[in-house]
Symmetry: C2
Subunit: 148 residues, 2 copies
């Protein structure tokens, strides 16, 4: 066992310019219905913190369940966020690999002790998340998901 | 069902500058033994074709089994390849999302009909693969894996 309390990938997050258009392509390729594109981080549960500052960041997202793993398409909107930063600096691409954890705060501290800071955190009606900046050590951002 | 003959993510490929060093970080984070870093695409099974030309591309890779999904760390070596191109143009990051298929050629044709070309293909002692350039439509490269 590890201090992360998880070793199971549950989601891959892909930053796209247009979630509606990308979702149509995914639906066509995988032969499944196009899910509704929904707003994210735009409600009272969001409490988004980006680089240690409160942010009105928001986005539009589409979720595809592909076997055991979900693909989340994220179109950044509004204020600064890790999503907007990624699109601006790198263009479209895979932004994060997500893992569930029941110990979100401990996991964030564990990563911090390894030199990997929380770049963004927040919540939704059902849980909380933290993006860990592992770009130097792991080649990618990780997301930790805590379901209430 | 879809023409792709699969809807299950089996692997996430991450391009890194140094597979040995990145593998140490992954092993530490996930509390699992560091797998051996192994050569890829360097033997008689490789037959690598990159952008429609035979290529002596090679790499070093480490494979981590994280629940149902494998993370493959790839350090590009040698001649031009999709791995080397990704590292040069984008730096370290998630290069591909992989799916198994039993109909590799048909799947490649299906993607081609949707405007997504095979950017690289090849084999190993046990199967064949094709990287599909879905960067415009899907925001990422996909890999199709055919196990003999």
């Amino acid at each position: 066992m590890n201090q992360l309390d998880t070793d199971t990938v549950v989601q891959i997050g892909v930053i796209v310019k247009d979630a509606e258009q990308a979702a149509r392509h995914y639906a066509e390729v995988f032969g499944i219905p196009k899910p509704e594109v929904v707003p994210i981080a735009d409600d009272s549960f969001a409490n988004t913190v980006y680089k240690n500052k409160s942010s009105k960041a928001a986005g539009r997202a589409a979720f595809f369940k592909l076997g055991p793993v979900e693909i989340e398409l994220i179109q950044p909107l509004g204020a600064p966020s890790t999503w907007e930063e990624f699109l601006r600096k790198r263009g479209e691409g895979v932004h994060h690999i997500a893992f569930r954890t029941q110990k979100l705060t401990e996991a964030q501290q564990f990563f911090k002790s390894k030199g990997m800071e929380t770049v963004q955190s927040g919540g939704w009606d059902g849980g909380r998340y933290a993006y860990i900046d592992g770009t130097q050590q792991l080649g990618t951002i990780l997301e930790l998901l805590h379901f209430d």
